[in-house]
Amino acid sequence: MTTLQFKNVYVQSSGCAVGPLEKAGPLGEYFTNAFSDNYCEESTFEKAERRLIKEAVSDTLKKGKLTTHDIALAYGGDLINQCASSNYFAKDLKVPFVSLYGACSTSALAMGHAAIAVEHLQMKHVLAFTSSHTATAERQFRYPNEYGTQKKETTTSTVTGAGAVVLGSKPAAIAVTAFTIGQVIDWNFSDANDMGRAMVPAAYDTLMTHFKDMNRTFDDYDLVVTGDLSKLGYAMLSDLCLKQRFQLDNKLNDCGLMIYDVNNQPIFCGGSGCACSMVVTVSKLFELLQSKRMKRILLIATGALLTPVILAQKEAIPCVAHAICFERKDA
């Protein structure tokens, strides 16, 4: 049993901040905090990423009428070595802080841990945030931003943005009811330009574990959203689910396909990054629950745990996925 269930964890408030490409995408209307260029009024991209976290967290605290003194514990993560953006941001936050790394799955990982802290450590308010920035991620994992290489058809684009959530025990409209911690899966897939398909087996495994533990199927959810599988990975996951005779009924989607217009924006196969699933969750998914259009949503945040050095040593890419379930609670 790897699924943890919660009875008293509610979303107290949430917020996000994004870059220009995300603002121009299909979810643009949900993003009230958006910057018009990727530098976000700062001098380096690393500072820009921290600025995005700062905007997202202060937006969240403001909406929840909270201050940093109300936060008992914070979890955060990003894609940069040593979780630099989160750790450097946390020095200004001045609350007990744990940085987490699960590549792009960090969003569900941070929110899940925050839920554990609320339910089992009886903490009143726990903050979870993640961020990613296309320029810092390119530099970390690939080539310089202005390097003229022809990117493959299977590439995904890292979302520039940050999202934050405060979880607490005070009853509210959205509850966090379950958290499935995934296994790390390596299926000898080593194409770093195709992380979408690389992460599918991990997403599938976590989804099946969640269904089995909770004794549920797609029928019990209004929507099952994966983190950043790209359109190729999305098709592959649908294929695997259909093979197991699951009825999808248009209930499967992907955050990376929701945040961008895959056909008209220059983002190749879809969006990716820690911010991708986080930003879509706090904007679109929470809105679907709050507006009573949906009752129960499962987010499966997927992460490719590659490091460029080991990849160059010809080893495959291990991947992981964590699932977190949100439900609307009617008063």
Binding site: N145, G148, W187
Partner: protein, 146 residues
């Protein structure tokens, strides 16, 4: 989950690779670049009475300068996505790898940033260029002794 089964499913979702289109575009654009270079070299010879080999050097320098400018202005990477090897193989690819890496590491300072990172991508071209030069000149020398 079975690895072979997964690989089979993954194969079904292999995207269309535009290899032929990319090769054609690279051929046409790379060729066009060479033709323009040749015209420029001829122009220098005729108008400024330069020697043929000097004019080639000037053209190469001009390509490097234009590439570095385009890299800084953020035009180069968009163009390279479109024409690929047409820009990557000529000297423009080498110039872009230096300029882009220098831009990227600017924030880390002149010595540890730009100085030590600038040849990160271009370094292997230099290393193997020199190795190849030694090997081939040794072969040439060996042949000349026969």
């Amino acid at each position: 989950m079975n690895e072979i089964h997964l690989k089979k499913v993954a194969e079904r979702h292999e995207p269309k690779r535009h290899k032929l289109r990319n090769a054609l575009l690279a051929f046409v654009f790379g060729g066009l670049l060479a033709v323009i270079g040749q015209f420029a070299a001829n122009f220098l010879v005729e108008q400024f009475q330069m020697k043929a080999d000097e004019s080639v050097t000037v053209v190469v320098l001009a390509v490097i300068l234009i590439t570095a400018l385009c890299t800084g202005l953020g035009i180069y990477d968009n163009l390279a996505q479109w024409v690929g090897a047409g820009l990557f193989i000529p000297i423009s690819g080498f110039a872009n790898s230096l300029a882009s890496e220098a831009l990227e590491s600017k924030s880390e300072g002149l010595i540890m940033g730009i100085g030590s990172n600038m040849f990160k991508l271009a370094g292997s071209v230099l290393t193997y260029g020199i190795v190849a030069a030694i090997v081939f000149s040794a072969i040439r020398y060996g042949v000349s002794l026969l």
